[in-house]
Symmetry: C2
Subunit: 234 residues, 2 copies
């Protein structure tokens, strides 16, 4: 994996309802999706697991298992229908229904996310940003209004927004999460490198860039600096 860091249960203690699909499989589905959309654009209508696996670097069995979770059924010899498979993944992931989201922390990273039009293709629409910096409140960033954090919980309730994105400094993240929970937000996408304390039923996913960085620098260090460690390594 790139090492997936997947981590997979990086998030925390056990879930009440274990998911019916392995987390790593879930994480691979978007990759297949990107690949398939590209195929479709090139006019290819049918595809086999062996082909997908060959192109993406997985063994065919794994691809087949992953795809089976979406409920698709293929035909022997010919494989799957590309458009059907794309629809199957999208439906399975809930990318047909748009999730509206609030983003908090209109800084470097927040601005980048606000400007990412393509999210709407994947079921995500960021409808507003929030901040505490008076300089930022009132601005429009990538056609989205930056509002005061005070308004968040009230607006989230009134607009039935269920998804929150946190791109504030680490110190502020917990307070922001509390505010989101107060507003009835169900799921949080957290870019700050802290473990959030939220009620059991709230879904939290951390996007920890430092985890990836750690893997990279560990491997680079191992490769360059330290043939000494080589022998220590198991």
């Amino acid at each position: 994996m790139v090492i997936d860091i997947n981590l997979s249960n990086l998030a925390g203690p056990k879930l009440p309802n274990p998911p019916s699909i392995p987390q790593p499989s879930l994480a691979r589905l978007p990759q297949y999706h990107h690949y398939l959309v590209d195929l479709e654009a090139r006019g290819i209508t049918r595809i086999s697991c062996s082909q997908i696996g060959g192109d993406l670097g997985y063994i065919p069995v794994q691809v087949r298992k992953d795809l089976q979770y979406t409920g698709i059924i293929g035909k022997p010899k010919t494989g799957y229908s590309v458009p059907e498979l794309i629809r199957s993944i999208e439906t399975f992931l809930g990318w047909n229904n748009i999730n509206e989201a609030f983003l908090v922390g209109a800084g470097n990273l927040g601005t980048a996310l606000l400007g990412h039009e393509r999210f709407s293709k994947f079921g995500l629409r960021i409808v507003a940003a929030f901040d505490t910096d008076p300089e930022k409140i009132g601005l429009w960033i990538h056609e989205k209004a930056v509002l005061s954090l005070d308004q968040l919980s009230d607006l989230a309730q009134r607009m039935s927004v269920h998804l929150g994105i946190i791109t504030t400094p680490a110190e502020a993240a917990q307070a922001v999460a509390d505010e989101m929970v107060k507003g009835g937000i169900q799921a949080i996408w957290n870019f700050a490198p802290v473990k959030l304390r939220v009620p059991e039923n709230i879904i939290v996913h951390n996007e920890d860039l430092y985890s990836t960085l750690a893997s990279l620098s560990w491997k680079l260090a191992r490769r360059f600096n330290v043939p000494i460690q080589e022998k220590e390594a198991v």
Copy 2:
């Protein structure tokens, strides 16, 4: 749970040298690091696995195993020395030696990364950006020069830069990766949602935001729209 997605073997086929630390453990180390730095700032000098686990949502055994990979040794009853533990993690991850990096794709996301000062605390210094857009070449973004992509491989060799960051659109990512490999870059941090084809010995980590998004929307969909699926779920 958060569920980390990192998946960890999201990246691809097997590595030649299996790492001496499980990928999930590697991904958790930065979390401990953040937590410990916070503790140190608050003047706490000793810490136990139970305490760490309680605060971060892991069971003590797992914390202990993870930390053991860094080579730290604790004392019964008192636990670990906080500053010693921080140093141990930093050394293990190679965060003491700075890795210089080139970033390609000075767009939304690239700009955010270029502006992130704190990376230098974690062994990463982005020294220059590259782009193909004539409007961008020649600009300075967050005190870093934006150069033409043509110069990349030559400069990478001359400056001995070993790490490359890709924040271009998906279509351009493969060509950029090829250019990086040509320049002798050893490790690539890829934010574009594509599988890169690179020689065996190149380290690639994908930061696939869509994977996280997929998990979130799958869970939200499961929660809201479809009690029907509830019974299908295993």
